[in-house]
């Protein structure tokens, strides 16, 4: 079917939109089961109250807040990475950016939803809008997340316009839908100029917003006076962790779609090697921050801080803490130092490990502090119930479903960018490369000379 079009070269990219196989329905059915679990769990929670969770006094936050931080962290996959790659004009970005951006948008919905799930009175959530107060970091979150969400949607949408136009022209179905979203794209010079300029602005704008989002998420904890929360490096620490988990999520998504949609031709081992290297750097950076954070706490040695510290190191939370160290540092380092062979398998292992590890990291930040209060209370051990597991499973499934549905409407790899890469990219890179080098173009030299 795709072969009869001139654009048959990128048939693999159109295939998921044009054809829907039994596999898709199977996956959707499975996802629905998980979502149903989550839905039933939420209904029960709504009827009975948060009592159906494992939360109690003093551990008033548990899985939901962990999930919130985790999902918002994952969202950094996308927009931030794609923006940096775009700005740095890394040519290997072309098949990567779209997938990254989609993750961001989808996961932000899920992440923000966690807070609603966590509320004791979801029926009163409008109170945040009617009576909100900016002294609360929760409102900072609301603001920065909505900014990030808006920006991410725009940033996902803008580079998609030419692709939508292609779909509009190519597909027979959903004509109105694509026509509307294509915004009358014809690929005229003016349109290209406008779009490129807008994308460039967005790429710059989205980076500080993304950084702010996770800093603000960390502020939820660090603005309190609680031991091991009240820390100045929490902002950057969370951002680093977010990018770390974001890259891992991106890699996992890429590998899944590569396999499922047969995109081996677009996503080559080299992409994964680059991303793997990025992951390695982030792992080291994450380790540095973790080390700095815990060393500072340990060296200071205030009793309250140490209570939490030891609860993590040797106390009831040791499996989580050391599990986190293993999955976030040891395994990634082992997998990623040499990527010469079995690149994809290694990168996948490392990424999955990091996803688990970063979730554990969020958990190990949220729960031990709460279960070791300053005053002599009974220390509570928190263990989630089926409701919380259900919400976790449901959230992941919902995210996967959103993503999957997206791929059924829009190409998961930017078609025009690939084409652009083929058509103008090569030449452009060569020219650009020359300007980097000492024996650059005459004009450049002249300019340099003038300045001297």
């Amino acid at each position: 079917m795709a072969a009869r079009e001139p654009g048959g070269r990128d048939a693999a990219l159109f295939a998921p939109i044009e054809l829907t196989g039994r596999g898709f329905y199977g996956v959707v059915a499975i996802l629905f089961l998980f979502i149903l679990w989550g839905g039933v769990a939420y209904w029960v929670q709504f009827e009975e109250g948060l009592g159906v969770t494992g939360l109690h006094q003093p551990v008033s936050w548990g899985f939901y807040v962990t999930n919130f931080v985790f999902f918002i962290g994952i969202s950094h996959a996308g927009t931030l990475i794609s923006a940096i790659l775009r700005l740095s004009k890394a040519e290997w970005r072309r098949p990567v950016t779209r997938m990254a951006e989609v993750i961001t948008v989808m996961v932000l919905f899920i992440g923000a939803g966690q807070i609603l799930v966590d509320l004791g009175r979801p029926d009163r959530m409008m109170n945040i809008i009617r009576y909100g107060r900016y002294q609360s970091p929760l409102l900072w979150d609301a603001t920065s997340i909505s900014a990030y969400l808006t920006a991410s949607i725009v940033y996902l949408y803008l580079p998609m316009i030419p692709d939508i136009a292609i779909l509009r022209d190519r597909l027979q179905k959903r004509k109105l839908f694509y026509t509307v979203l294509a915004l009358g794209w014809t690929g005229s010079e003016r349109q290209q100029r406008v779009l490129n300029r807008a994308i460039a602005v967005m790429a710059i704008l989205v980076i500080p917003i993304a950084v702010s989002v996770h800093s603000v998420v960390s502020f939820v904890f660090s603005m309190t006076l609680q031991p091991m929360w009240h820390s100045t490096i929490f902002g950057p620490y969370f951002v680093v962790g977010a990018i770390f988990s974001g890259i891992a999520a991106l890699i996992v998504a890429m590998i899944i779609f590569r396999k499922a949609y047969g995109l081996q031709g677009y996503l080559k081992p080299i992409h994964f090697r680059y991303l793997g290297q990025l992951l390695l750097i982030m792992s080291l950076l994450w380790f540095y921050f973790t080390f700095a954070e815990y060393l500072t706490g340990y060296y200071g040695g205030t009793p309250e801080e140490m209570k939490v510290f030891w609860a993590k190191f040797t106390g009831p939370f040791w499996p989580f803490f050391w599990g986190m160290a293993l999955t976030n540092f040891v395994i990634p380092i082992l997998c990623l130092v040499r990527l010469g062979r079995h690149t994809i398998a290694k990168v996948l292992t490392a990424s999955l490990s990091v996803l688990v590890g970063m979730w554990l990291e969020r958990f190990i930040i949220v729960v031990p502090t709460l279960s070791n209060p300053r005053l002599p209370f009974g220390e509570g051990i928190y263990w989630p119930t089926w409701v919380e597991w259900g919400e976790l499973a449901g959230s992941f499934a919902l995210f996967a479903l959103f993503y999957l549905l997206f791929t059924k409407f829009f190409p998961v790899i930017s078609i025009w960018e690939i084409r652009e890469g083929r058509e103008v990219g090569l030449k452009e890179v060569e020219e650009r490369l020359l300007t980097y080098l000492p024996d650059g173009s005459e004009a450049e030299l002249a300019e340099t000379g003038r300045r001297w």
């Binding site: 900016y134 316009i161 915004l183």
Partner: protein, 82 residues
């Protein structure tokens, strides 16, 4: 692709401009909301400085976003009508 103004085409344009309007409404709503929060904080003497401080960052960001959106809408849609 036909250049005639067919019925779905007109509808598409209406929806497109509607989308732009929605964006304006949405970001306008957020900006109004922020100002509402400042006013509430002021009335309750509840740390209006925090609200103002955050609004100083948040409002321009949202306005910039709106600017980009409108710029794209105007730029792309405007091109076709020429």
């Amino acid at each position: 692709m036909s250049r005639e103004h067919s019925v779905p085409d007109r509808m598409a344009r209406a929806i497109q401009w509607g989308l732009a309007g929605a964006a304006v409404l949405f970001i306008g709503g957020i900006v109004t909301w922020i100002s509402h929060l400042i006013r509430t904080a002021w009335r309750l003497k509840d740390v209006p400085s925090a609200s103002i401080g955050i609004s100083l960052v948040a409002v321009p960001v949202f306005l910039t976003l709106l600017g980009v959106i409108l710029y794209v809408f105007w730029g792309l849609l405007g091109d076709r009508s020429e």
